[in-house]
């Protein structure tokens, strides 16, 4: 049985539309996707799922089930690892990300990523945020200033750091660093934000701030979040995908997954009776 506390937390969420173009229900679309490490070690099995535009989609599942692997395939972060292999395809807005004509750098410019362990660069707060603009060759000071202020406001960090923008990012607290990484991820106006357990190292207050932030951000961005925290998935996401041993077990609206899951494994996992 689902935890009653979750029930109250789950409220139907209407997606906020800011333009007239209808939002795609299959903005990110994974098709028959298999993934192997070291050529033979298969960790993802025949995945098929559609992630809707400007909504929050949560990936849940026990440790080692391949959530991060799938997430890191969406911006081709796994390319860095030797000996990987994939079958099937992933489409973003209808275009294959593995298309040889698409440059992986331009793909990554459209996708922001927030890592489990906050990883600010050894630079000032200001330079951290404008990094994605600088590597894209944009150096105009007025533009950079504007981006810094907008991104920090969006990441709910502006008031805390506005007086020390040019000091080292290492002087921030853990929660502030993670919000800085979020600000960095949204600085160059990506379309998608990938978050891999963004709150796992944070206290409840910092976690609450970041969850509020995710609510705000989904007005503009398509968000995919990996989390181990069931309450968090229930609070922030519109849709939830449950993975187990590299397979997609159940994928539905968050409400359905938590209130009346079809699969017994899903039910066991979301109610905390797993393993």
């Amino acid at each position: 049985m689902p935890d009653p506390a979750i029930k109250t937390a789950v409220t139907p969420q209407a997606s906020v539309t800011t333009s007239d173009v209808p939002l795609r229900a299959d903005y990110i679309s994974v098709r028959n996707f298999n993934f192997f490490y070291n050529g033979v070690h298969q960790v993802l099995f025949d995945l098929n799922l559609d992630i809707p535009e400007r909504q929050v989609t949560a990936f849940i599942g026990p440790s080692g089930c391949g959530k991060s692997t799938l997430l890191r395939n969406i911006n081709r972060m796994n390319d860095l690892i030797d000996g990987i292999r994939h079958e099937g395809d992933i489409f973003i807005d209808g275009h294959s990300i593995f298309d040889p004509d698409i440059e992986v750098i331009s793909l990554r410019k459209r996708i922001g990523m927030v890592f489990q362990k906050s990883n600010p660069f050894p630079k000032s707060i200001y330079e951290n945020i404008v990094y994605s603009l600088r590597v894209a060759g944009r150096h105009r000071k007025s533009e950079l200033d504007e981006v810094v202020e907008r991104s920090l406001h969006a990441a709910a960090l502006w008031d805390e750091v506005k007086d020390r923008l040019h000091q080292s990012a290492f002087g921030l607290s853990g929660g502030q660093m993670q919000r800085l990484c979020i600000a960095r991820a949204i600085a160059n106006q990506p379309e998608i934000i990938l978050m891999d357990e963004p709150c796992s190292a944070l206290d409840p207050i910092a976690t609450g701030k970041i969850e509020d932030l995710i609510h705000e951000l989904k007005k503009q961005f398509t968000i995919v979040i990996v989390t181990h925290n069931m309450q968090q998935a229930a609070r922030v996401s519109d849709r939830t995908a449950f993975f187990y041993l590299g397979k997609l077990i159940e994928y539905n609206s968050t409400e359905a997954i938590f209130m009346n899951p079809i699969n017994s494994q899903t039910e066991a996992y979301v109610s905390g009776r797993f393993g």
Binding site: M77, L80, N119, Y131, S132, S168
Partner: protein
Amino acid sequence: MNSQLAQVHERRREIHRIERNQIGRINEQMRRLDLDRRYLENLSERTVAQQMQLDRIHERIAVLQSDFEPLAAQAAALRRQLVENRLEYSLATGQVRSITVGDLVHVYAPNQLHFLQRVVLFFQHIWSFLSEYPREANTEGGIWPAIFGTFIMTVLMSAAVTPFGVMAAIYLREYARQGLFVRAVRIAINNLAGVPSIVFGIFGLGFFVYFMGGNIDRIFFPRATEMGTPTFGTGGVLWASLTLALLTVPVVIVATEEALAAVSRGVREGSLACGASKWQTIQYLVLPAAAPGILTGLVLAMARGAGEVAPLILVGVVAFAPSLPVDGLFPFIHLERKFMHLGFHIYDLGFQSPDSEAAQPMVFATTLILILLVVALNLAAILIRNRLRRRYASQAF
């Protein structure tokens, strides 16, 4: 007495000025013209243009000669004036001795000086030791050319070894496929650090001096080479620096590789996720973060290079160099010149001088200066490193 001494000093300075600057400049031009003249005269038959050139050279030589003669006469006159007065003095034993005033360097009565004067004298001596040219076959005077030569050589060596070592390390660590080949290269680099330094000297002589220098001479200084006066085809400060750069490059590569490896994966992935290319990541994040470690490697390389003597003997160090590698004559930096070096100077003073007993204080003082120079170079690099570290040091990842 003091006015006489002042006059002697004045005259010596004057002679120095005339000989080193004015006559030096004329000599330099003469040397070049003379080369062309000998080359042209040696030709069995000359074209009209060559004949005209030869005539022009003869004229210019004559002009220079006429400039030279009064200067030489002036210098000779000054020298005569130096020796025309003699100083007679009696020792405590009552013997009477005499010396020409021109041979005096300092005159002072040590027992009559009060404390402050002694302190001043002490520092004067140190200063003249540091700033003067050697005299009397290196056993007297200062060691300035050796200090300067060591310094220039170390700077050139660092300028060569840093980009080379850092690029090699970046390739090995960031770009090369980690496999058998890269492992073999790493082992080779580590072994290179253990090769006796004289072997590097022989390699430098064969490769840099004879091969590279020889080819540069054949292409850019064909006449001089034909006349048997090599320019780059003989030892010089450039070849010595490059030889030492080879000797110290393993140190820089190993240190840089370690520094690169220490840059966290999280930072690299964060950069790539921002849409940076691999090279941008290296340029903007990895290298700045690795800079303190790279500098540590450079410190070690400089400490090793500045104290090395054996390979230098083969590739350009000399016991006495008439001119510094940097001076006021065009093109101001003369990388082909032979140079003096503190380490070799110690050897020359201690073991090659006619009276090594008398040179002993010089040996000790020169050794101290060499050690201080190495310490100063290290200290400078350590300070820079600490500054870089402090900038973003509050958190370790």
